[in-house]
Symmetry: C2
Subunit: 113 residues, 2 copies
């Protein structure tokens, strides 16, 4: 079964203290076991015409679509979403089964003893 | 040093044959060694008001910002970008050092022999 990703691309309102939002998000994913990985980043390289004003990307990975659906309805997620919706100026969210078409090579085997 | 991600969120023009685009993209990342992983997906769950018309996400990972910058100028990337820009209706691109704040647990050690 494919892993399932919840991708959030956001632009925050002016004056928002991002550290508080990030702490809340880190606590959320740490509390909820079905989130198997969480990565995020702040754009530093894209061209303005490609970035379209968005500044941050957040990516959560779940073992399956069912686990993602359970996350959506989790009280802690609902509570966080309420807060999050108040600090964003605009957002794009995509939720999709992951197609992995290139993955890092496994580390080379240890040399023979 | 942080891994670096190139995230592309796109909506394609009507009538575009996506398989051809995907084959081109898979060939690109397979040809260029500095792309250490490539994942993509087509949204199946997000709400219209959150999806904003975007349908696909593409995520390439590089070992470093320098490797990403080299990719940007690579002739094969420039050639592909030219084709890609003709099939998209709209796009958001974010390029960022990855902050990994939750990662899958490593597999348990093998039982003692």
């Amino acid at each position: 079964m494919a892993e399932f990703k919840h991708l959030v691309v956001a632009k925050f309102k002016e004056g928002v203290v991002l550290d508080e939002i990030l702490s809340g998000m880190e606590k959320l994913v740490s509390d909820i076991e079905s989130v198997i990985s969480f990565q995020w980043g702040e754009d530093i390289e894209s061209l303005d015409m490609l970035r379209q004003g968005y500044t941050h990307a957040f990516m959560m990975t779940f073992k399956s679509k069912d686990e993602f659906n359970a996350f959506l309805g989790h009280p802690k997620h609902l509570e966080f979403s309420e807060t999050f919706s108040q600090v964003i100026e605009k957002i794009v969210v995509l939720d999709f089964p992951v197609v992995l078409s290139k993955s890092p090579s496994p580390p080379p085997p240890p040399p023979p003893a």
